[in-house]
């Protein structure tokens, strides 16, 4: 387990290093100098010179690369081109909103996805099973931002049940909860379909096992067999996949946050990209990549702890 842990964490650190290197290299591939591009046509020579000094672009390349890594390691992701605020504090300010959105979306996906998966196992082969299968595929493939906009039109504009924009009043849990419902559904819906499928498939595999046959021989009702005995085993691959799911949820969040003008990582980075605000974009991408790597690595370690077969793959 120790060897596996060290190797897995080492791999994550190596990947993060490569990503940072690639990101830094990218700035130098651009035609024209980054300071001019970030400032746009309004740039005066004085403004440009100031930004170049602030971004450290006047130093030799090796010093720039070294500073970039040293600063990033201490949590200094540079400063916003326009407001001159530290990038990290701008990220941390809105990150909880995105985290809440992601968590609620995952919750929705887990509850609905597992229930739908169980239902189709209980009624496997029936019309309900087939309808649920089609429904699952449809939920996986329809883009989240289309769901978000349709939801906004129906529930906010026409029915007026839910707020159309924002993340709710600060300190008012009720309004925050109301504001998260539509975005969370839009973000989570593809995972409802995906989990329903996954649970169904792994459950059907388990249903042939000896202990299930024994339970059936004892005359237990089908619903109870599914809920009490099959689900327990079938849920393991589902949990394994949820960590990876977080990456896709972050991607959908970028679009959905923009639709609902909800403060968060997604709205922060889209506005920064439109203004070509390098430090803010690179800092946010780096932060989210690091966060995602931590989640995925932690999940891998957890799975390896639960399932010794995974560890052995790395031993060879």
């Amino acid at each position: 387990m120790l060897t596996y842990t060290i190797k897995r964490i080492g791999l994550a650190v190596l990947i993060l290093f490569l990503v940072m290197l690639a990101m830094y290299a990218m700035v130098f591939v651009v035609p024209g100098d980054p300071a001019a591009v970030a400032l746009g046509p309004r740039a005066t020579p004085a403004l440009k010179a100031e930004l170049i000094t602030r971004m450290g672009l006047d130093q030799p390349l090796y010093a720039q690369v070294w500073n970039f890594f040293r600063n990033a390691a201490t949590g200094d992701l540079g400063f916003d081109v326009w407001s001159k605020r530290p990038v990290l504090s701008m990220i941390l300010e809105v990150f909880p909103n995105t985290l809440i959105l992601g968590a609620v979306a995952l919750g929705v996906a887990l509850v609905l996805g597992v229930s739908l998966g169980c239902l189709s196992v209980i009624w496997r082969g029936s019309l309900i099973d087939r309808v649920l299968a089609i429904l699952s595929v449809s939920m996986i493939s329809v883009p989240s931002f289309v769901i978000a906009i349709y939801g906004l039109l129906i529930f906010s504009v026409w029915l007026g049940w839910l707020p159309a924009i924002g993340a709710g009043e600060k300190g008012d849990l009720g309004s925050q909860a109301r504001a998260v419902i539509l975005p969370a559904f839009a973000v989570g819906i593809s995972w409802v379909g995906y989990l329903a499928r996954l649970v169904r498939a792994s459950m059907l595999e388990v249903m042939g096992a000896n202990h299930i046959r024994t339970a059936r021989a004892f005359g237990l009702p089908e619903g109870r067999i599914v809920a009490r005995y099959a689900l327990r085993i079938a849920i393991i691959p589902t949990i394994a996949i949820l960590a990876v799911g977080f990456g896709s949820i972050l991607s959908s969040a970028v679009f959905v946050e923009t639709v609902f003008s909800r403060p968060g990582i997604g709205s922060l980075i889209t506005q920064a990209v439109a203004k070509r605000n390098y430090p803010l974009v690179m800092g946010t991408v780096l932060f989210m990549t690091a966060f995602y790597l931590v989640v995925v690595t932690a999940a891998d370690l957890l799975i390896a702890r639960l399932d010794p077969r995974v560890r052995d793959v790395y031993r060879s």
Binding site: L18, I140, I149, R197, V254, T258, T289
Partner: protein, 290 residues
């Protein structure tokens, strides 16, 4: 000519299987519809998709404009029809190129020297451990938004998945008896790769590619919606959706009309891809959405 003989019976079973699978058939019909729309856009579109006519802005749907007009008086139906060309053009180009590059890299990783395999796998892992949209946004910041940036981003993101699939298939096949036999009788690596590995790995790749088309359509529309993909006035389902979003309260019909082709196209391609997979290679793993 042996390849033709090999492929034909397979194709016949695929068609037969699609006929037995109503959802796959529905997918095929939808895809055929959108492909027709994309190819014959100039003939099918009733108006010029970028012609501005402010006097008739926000016209409701009627017989002159079946889906109404937008904030600049452009005919929405014509923009949607031309948008099919944008969406399918980008999706097919990107998945096609990424598929070819992934195929080559996968063969190199699977068949080439071990040290090269190690480096390639590390690169694939690095790219696929980036949250997809975050990576796209970083590249767009550097290169500026536009169709070519969009293509580049989608290709880079997609390559690792295809290369990994091909690599795994190549590694497994190398242990197969018929490859071992070829090697014993002294066949050259080129012969083994071209005559034996390639025909066997292309099938699964095509299925995975077809299942990725809706993902690319989604990504193109999403980035164009954020105004970071296809630049206006070129019609894209994404920027039509954005125009509708900005005038949601005045003309809700616009959003509905622009969302429908996206829903139908992604569903169509997904159903078709699933149908093809079930018919040709049911064991192929469904990829995790990223």
């Amino acid at each position: 000519m042996s390849t033709v003989a090999e492929i034909n019976p397979r194709r016949r079973t695929a068609l037969a299987a699609l006929r037995r699978d109503p959802m796959g058939l529905l997918g095929a019909i939808l895809v055929a519809g959108f492909v027709t729309m994309a190819i014959f856009a100039p003939l099918l579109a009733p108006y010029d998709p970028i012609k501005i006519d402010v006097a008739h802005k926000f016209a409701p749907a009627d017989f002159a404009h079946w889906a109404g007009t937008d904030q600049l008086g452009r005919d929405i139906l014509s923009r949607i029809i031309w948008g099919a060309r944008t969406a399918l053009g980008i999706a097919l180009t990107a998945t096609g190129l990424a598929g070819v590059i992934g195929l080559l890299l996968g063969l190199v990783a699977g068949y080439g020297p071990r040290w090269l395999d190690g480096i390639l796998v590390l690169l694939f892992d690095s790219v696929s451990s980036l949250p997809m949209v975050m990576f796209a946004l970083a590249v767009i910041t550097v290169l500026g938004p536009g169709t070519s940036t969009l293509l580049l981003v989608i290709i880079i993101i997609s390559i690792p998945g295809y290369a990994r699939l091909i690599r795994a298939q190549t590694l497994t096949l190398q242990q197969a008896d018929f490859i071992q036999a070829e090697r014993t009788i002294g066949a050259s690596p080129a012969r083994i790769i071209l005559r034996h590995l390639l025909p066997n790995v292309v099938g699964p790749l095509v299925i995975v590619l077809s299942m990725d088309v809706p993902v690319v359509i989604m990504l193109e529309a999403g980035l164009s919606y954020l105004n970071l993909g296809v630049r206006p006035p070129t019609p894209s389902w994404g920027n039509i959706l954005y125009d509708g979003y900005t005038s949601l309260r005045q003309a809700p019909g616009m959003v509905i009309a622009a969302g429908l082709p996206l829903v139908l196209a992604t569903l169509g391609f997904t159903f078709l891809g699933e149908g093809l997979r079930d018919a040709l290679d049911p064991k192929l793993q469904l990829r995790v959405p990223k």
